[in-house]
Amino acid sequence: MTNSWTDIKNTDLVVIMGGNAAEAHPCGFKWVTEAKATRGAKLVVVDPRFTRSAAVADYYAPVRQGSDIAFLNGVINYCIQNNKVQWEYVKNFTNANYLVKDGFTYQDGLFTGYDAEKRDYNRSTWDYQIGPDGYAMVDDTLQNPRCVWNLLKEHVSIYTPDMVSRITGTPKDKFLKVCEMIGECSSPTKTMTSMYALGWTQHSKGSQNIRTMAMLQLILGNIGVRGGGMNALRGHSNIQGLTDIGLMSNLIPGYLTLATEREPDLATYMSTRGFKPLRPNQMSYWQNYKKFFVSFQKAMFGPAATAENSFAYDWLPKMDVPSYDILRAFELMKQGKMTAYFCQGFNPLQAFPNKAKLAEALGKLKLLVIMDPLETETARFWENHGIYNEADPAKIQTEVIQLPSTCFAEDEGALVNSGRWLQWHWPGGSPPGEAKSDVWIMSQITLRLRALYQKEGGAFPDPILNLTWNYKDPNEPTPSELAKEMNGYVVSDVADPNDPTKKLLEAGKQLSGFGVLRDDGSTACGNWIYSGSFTEAGNMMARRDNSDPGDTGAYSNWSFSWPANRRILYNRASADINGKPWDDTRKLLWWDGAKWTGYDIPDIAPASKPQDVGPFIMNPEGVSRLFARGMMREGPFPVHYEPFESPVANAIAPKVRGNPVARVFKDDFAQFAEVASPDFPYAATSYRLTEHFHYWTKNNHVNSVLQPEFFVEISEELAKEKGITNGGWVRVWSKRGSVLAKAYATKRIRPMTVDGKTVHIVGIPIHWGFVGAAKKGFGANVLTPFVGDANIETPEYKAFCVNIEASTGPAVA
């Protein structure tokens, strides 16, 4: 989230699209009801289904899954055509006035530089024109046909209300009503918040779904302001922490990237991470990259990381592919190229797509280690559970080791919520039986591996032998020790340059924040964005002061919000070019003539003159991007692409199948239904229900009472057409598998008219499996396709095609 949960109370309009906050985030949803009840805010829900969020909405519009970009490009087009633009914001705080290279064009669904063979682009033209002074060229009058604004205007012009309705299935009047409500928020004194979640991420163009809304929010002037923002509602209580700490195959903590094979030394690695400002005076904060990186290496390898050995750069892995994401991992497993798999707090047999492929892949492993507080399907993949998990244990040679771990309520530590708050918590109970904390388990593996390396040597022992492990009890570092390491500490004294008798930094002290990090090895910091969370003043994450001066919703003394305890990112943009708040009733920061002051920690150097330094300090331009340059694999502007399995061809680019740059493995392409396949005529989607949490709570009796049995949701019209009775059995199948489920014929799903054709929707909740207290059932992933988002590989769970028929149900044993 750019903002925080509590900030939602400040909004005028909540748009829930690509998520279902009432269902999946009921506790956070209280801030929506609060905004409605006290501010008179309106709630708009755009979703294929009439959801629990829609049940309390002021306006609901249906949209076909996988067509969000068409919808949002249509809203952008509406705003541009009807002058619903926060002009001052757009002109000063976005790259609308930047000139784009002449070679850049868009035609028939593709941008310049496409290579169909590689399914990739040459992105060299996707950039600004650079002037003789080395800075990007701009045209403040917005007259130049090559400026971003004019290119954008042209790009979205095809998304007329009629075209939007044709692609999305949203009735034109409903689309226009949503446009009108959103358009009102272009006023500097009205804000809209976007609450989204997996409904946008789980598509082959998930990143672009989100980006399109971010662009709309910029055009409306809603980023950096109270009650605005792009608010990603995370799907696990600590998944924000997972990404922050870099648990992606290609990241290290704080969103730094692992080196690739093409970067053999630190100098080469840094050469593309310099982030030279693209406009005069801009902060371009990533210029500090090396400080973050070197301090991370010092935290990892301590005294063994020296300037002479490039701070142990060689000890980090170098990527040979863009990422070892979950899809690639299971593909490699299936090919027999990945033979051991550690599965920590994850249930991939339920969570990843195409269960048949997953089970086959797991069966080819030599070793599968499960660390989980619960029994999982993955740990039992080899067990035969009849129709729910057909397996022949005699043929599976995989050794499976289950290590029971503690659950969150038995642990101490911080969970990072969607609003980037690191909230410290304490154990509520003792772990049962032999369960051990994840920290203990990982420590034992580390220590025992190290002992083996010490004893036997090995191909490359250095990173293991030199890993810093100076904890009081090496067998189980305490959460505080780990948190202090992430915050960072001073390695060696740093003298004050103005007065050498004084120390700027004193060895052994906790760092006050990332502002003091250095690239010479005198500071160590496990995760630069968490710096400031555990300082000499103590554990900031454990703070529980719920006072809120000015009633702003910031709650600045409650826990710690990264970065630097900042509650709203880009908050300098809450004031105009002269530093005066857009809305006096919703002040956040203002320029007092000498510095930035206000209710939040300024997201800019406090003395930066408002006219000189742009609010988007992480971009070398200092402004936000309506044109993404080469940062997105599909292109600098979002384009509507159909899901890989779709009931219709792409209306704006009939020849383009799916996302043209999404990675698809060969065998998986063969398992996609053809476009508009008569064998798989129905548009399916999968989702969560409020009664359950993923695949955990089916182990809990009460949750299982509240939603006991697997079902699928269809319209009453489709039920009638297929002779399906409400509450009766159905069989649903895709090109990858087949499930039996109870049917829920509901008014909350309606057939849609897409491109002149009736499209029926089949909704599939995900929560059932073959272990647990609830009735045995099938996972939705029996049906879902094995393809991910082109940028980050989140699987396309939200849009695929199935068929359905009435059934007699499972044979009674």
């Binding site: 269902e23 009921p26 629990r52 309390v56 009472v705 049995e709």
Partner: protein, 313 residues
């Protein structure tokens, strides 16, 4: 925001009300406590409810109830009806508003309304099985319950359920144990959106007014408070978007009243009945003298085991 639920006290706390505060006791003549305690009420704002069932879970957990894991029956309402273990239940109704042709998903938390004029209590023939405290809470005292089921007949809202295990009637207590020590009912404490609020009846009525104004501003011209006068008002009230048609909310009675049968029962019939009871008692004694005592057979034991099940053992 309505002030959030208070945290529980950490020191032992004296119960705020008890037997001395009764104003009614089933099949008994008592002197009602005077003066009455401030009347309490739970306000269920249907327009704020997201149907998350946290209230249902909290009710099961707090009251240590064991509901069966059922099946899917073509609705999100689970279990499909109130049971002796499910004192509260979210009832889901898909209703197409004929005026706008828009779907509205009406989600009503069902459970005991704690009537000011409680039909269950009036119908109950077992002395002290149903009591009403002066703060308005209607509570079942299970040790006095005879499982006759008359409370169900007496209830205009069809709430109490008889357990097949112990043959006693069960329903929501308004968490009288929690309220007695200054806590909100478990459901209200668990509600994430403050769709359930708790306080004095006056506070809740006033809070509801603000909600109704908000709903009217959003086009719900018939928004209103459900506090039906036919039962003297209730200590569980609803804010409804369409207060003119409560029946669309899974059959919430439009004008609930205590069944006339119960009213008559409490009138002349009662005294006529006493005569019959006397006769029956005499007949019973005669029967015992002639036929002897009733014995529990092995079959009875087996059936009882079946009903209680292993979970209860």
């Amino acid at each position: 925001m309505f002030p959030p639920a208070p945290n529980p006290p950490v020191a032992p706390t004296q119960a705020k009300f008890g037997d001395k505060d009764l104003i009614r006791r089933s099949a008994s003549t008592i002197t009602p406590a005077s003066p009455r305690q401030t009347e309490v009420a739970k306000l269920i704002d249907v327009s704020k409810c997201i149907g998350c069932k946290a209230c249902q879970a909290a009710c099961l957990e707090w009251n240590n109830l064991h509901e069966e894991i059922g099946t899917f029956n073509g609705t999100y309402t689970n279990p499909p009806d109130l049971t002796p273990a499910s004192f509260t239940l979210m009832r889901f109704t898909e209703w197409v508003n004929p005026e706008t042709d828009n779907l509205e998903w009406l989600i009503r938390k069902d459970g005991c309304m704690h009537c000011e004029d409680p039909g269950c209590l009036k119908a109950c023939p077992a002395p002290g099985a149903i009591v009403q405290y002066s703060n308005g809470i209607v509570d079942f005292v299970h040790e006095n319950c005879i499982g006759c089921g008359y409370c169900i007949k007496g209830c205009p809202f069809n709430i109490p359920r008889i357990s097949k295990v112990d043959n006693k009637a069960y329903k929501c207590t308004l968490c009288s144990d929690r309220v007695a020590v200054g806590q909100w009912p478990a459901c209200a404490k668990a509600c994430p959106t403050q769709a359930i609020a708790f306080g004095t009846k006056a506070e809740m009525t006033k809070w509801a007014e603000g909600r109704i104004t908000d709903l009217k501003s959003r086009g719900y011209k018939n928004a209103g408070l459900y506090d039906p006068p036919g039962v003297g008002g209730t200590h569980v009230m609803y804010v409804l978007q369409h207060a003119d048609k409560p029946e669309i909310y899974a059959g919430l009675p439009n004008n609930p009243r205590i069944s006339p049968v119960v009213e008559i029962w409490k009138g002349v019939t009662k005294y006529v009945g006493f005569g019959f009871i006397g006769l029956a008692a005499v007949a019973g004694v005669l029967h015992h003298l002639v036929a002897g005592a009733n014995r529990v057979s092995a079959e009875d034991e087996a059936n009882a085991e079946k009903l209680t099940g292993s979970d209860r053992s």
